[in-house]
Subunit: 235 residues, 2 copies
DNA sequence: GCATATTTGTCCGTATGTATA
DNA sequence: CTATACATACGGACAAATATG
C-alpha cells in the first residue's frame, strides 16, 4: 500500500473538498490502482492527499453509498470485492435496462446525436484494441453500453447505469485475463451499432440479450474458477 | 422551524452515529415533517439531536446522495424540491422497471410469498383508507408498487425502487390535496393484484402501463397548477 | 453600497471504544 | 490477557462566504 497519491493534490481546487477527494478515490478504484479487497487507511490517505480525517470520511461515505467501498464498523473501509451473486444481479439489471432502451427503436426515432456518441465509443474501443490497451478497451466497451442505456432518455437511468458499470469494472479487476474477455465483444458491439443505426429495435433487443447472456456466463465462469485465489488474498 | 427533535434521541443506540442520524432525518423528510424547500441548519439540528457538526455533516451527505437533500456551497442543505421534469423522469423509470417486472408473469411462475406481500400492502391501504389516513394510504400504495418491482427478484432493482419512491413521496408533499390523488388508485391496485394472482403477465403490463400514465398525467397537472405557490415559498 | 453578524467549510486535538497482534 | 493500533466521535478553532441591517 505504498502508492503515490501526491500527484493528485494539484487537482484539489474547486468544489467541496470531500467531493474532490471522492472523485480522486473513485478514479483510483476504477483504474484498479486500489484493487478490490484493499484496505484504505484513514491516516495514510488523509495525509497523502492533505485533507483532514473528517473530510476524508465524508468522501468514504459517498463511495460506500455508490457501492465501490464497504465500511466495517470500527475496522475501516475496503475496496469492495463483488461476489458471483453481484455479477448475476448486475447483468439482470443490465438486461432489463438496456433491452428496454433499444426495444422501441424505429428508423424514425433514431437520434443523430445518439448514433454519433455510440460511434465515438466504438472508435475509442478500436483505438484501444489497436494499442493493445485492454483496460482501455474494457472502458470503451462500457461507455458504448452506457450510451445504449442513454437511449431511454432518462437522467435516472443514466445514473443507475453509471453506478452499475462502475461495479462491473470492479468485477473486471478481479478477473485474471482481461484481454480474452473484452476482445471478442468489440465485434459484437459493432454489430449492435449497425442494428441500432438501421432502426431495428426488435433485432437489436435479441442480439443485445444474447450478448449479455454470453458475457454473464463467461464472467460467472471466470469467477468461480479463480475464486479461491482472491478470496484468500482479500481476507 | 421550531420542530421537536428531542423525542428521537432515544433511538440513537446502535450503528454508526451518522447512519442513525441519517435514518432519523430521512424519516422526518419522508413524513413531511421537514417539507420540501426547508433549510436544515447544522447548528439547530446538531444540538437538537445531540451530535457534533462533523457527524451531522456525514448524515447530510448521505441523504444528499440519496436525492432527498440538496447542498448549496456555503449556503447549507435544503430538502429537495422536485421539479416537473423529475416527476416525468420518475414515472419513465417506474414504467420501465415495473412493466418489465410483471411482463414475464405466468400462472406457473407466481410466487406465493410475493402474492402474500402484495396482499398485505393492499390490506394496509384498505385500513388507512378506512381511517381516512391519506398519508398512510399513499405509503401503502407505494409499498404495493415496491412489491411489484420486487417481482424482478433483483436487490439492485429493489434499491433503485426504494430511492425512486422516496423521491415520489417528496413529490406528494408538494401537492395540495393528497386524498383526491391517492384514493382512486386503491381500486386499481386491487385490479392489478387480481391480474398478478391469476398469472396474467401481458394483461398486468397493460393495466400497469395505463395506471402509471394516468398517475403521471395527474401529478404533472397538479404540479403545473400549484407551481407558483411553492416556487415562491421555497425561494 | 457598506459593515456586521451568522453560517458554512475545513482542519486539528483529543477522548473513547473496538479489533487485532 | 495485555498492549498497540486504529476507527469513531466530540469540541474548538479559523477562514471564507453569505445574509442582514
Amino acid at each position: 500500500m505504498n502508492h503515490d497519491l501526491e500527484s493528485d493534490r494539484a487537482l484539489l481546487d474547486r468544489l467541496s473538498r470531500a467531493d474532490q477527494v471522492a472523485d480522486i478515490l473513485r478514479t483510483r478504484v476504477l483504474q484498479g490502482y486500489f484493487p478490490p479487497g484493499e484496505r484504505l487507511a484513514e491516516g495514510a490517505i488523509g495525509s497523502a492527499l492533505g485533507v483532514s480525517r473528517n473530510t476524508l470520511r465524508e468522501a468514504f461515505r459517498l463511495l460506500t453509498h455508490e457501492g465501490l467501498l464497504v465500511q466495517e464498523l470500527n475496522r475501516g473501509v475496503f475496496v469492495r470485492v463483488p461476489t458471483v451473486d453481484d455479477v448475476v444481479d448486475i447483468y439482470r439489471v443490465r438486461k432489463l435496462v438496456e433491452c428496454q432502451a433499444v426495444r422501441g427503436i424505429t428508423p424514425e426515432t433514431v437520434m443523430l446525436g445518439a448514433i454519433e456518441r455510440l460511434g465515438a465509443a466504438l472508435a475509442r474501443a478500436d483505438s484501444a484494441s489497436a494499442d493493445e490497451d485492454w483496460l482501455g478497451l474494457g472502458t470503451a466497451n462500457i461507455d458504448f453500453h452506457a450510451e445504449i442505456a442513454a437511449l431511454a432518455g432518462s437522467p435516472r437511468i443514466d445514473a443507475l447505469m453509471q453506478r452499475l458499470l462502475a461495479e462491473l469494472r470492479l468485477v473486471f479487476h478481479v478477473m485474471a485475463d482481461p484481454r480474452r474477455f473484452h476482445e471478442p465483444y468489440l465485434a459484437r458491439n459493432r454489430e449492435l451499432f449497425e442494428l441500432i443505426r438501421a432502426g431495428d429495435g426488435p433485432g437489436t433487443e435479441r442480439a443485445l440479450g444474447a450478448y449479455l447472456d454470453d458475457a454473464e456466463r463467461q464472467l460467472v465462469q471466470a469467477y468461480t474458477d479463480g475464486r479461491r485465489a482472491w478470496v484468500v488474498s482479500a481476507s
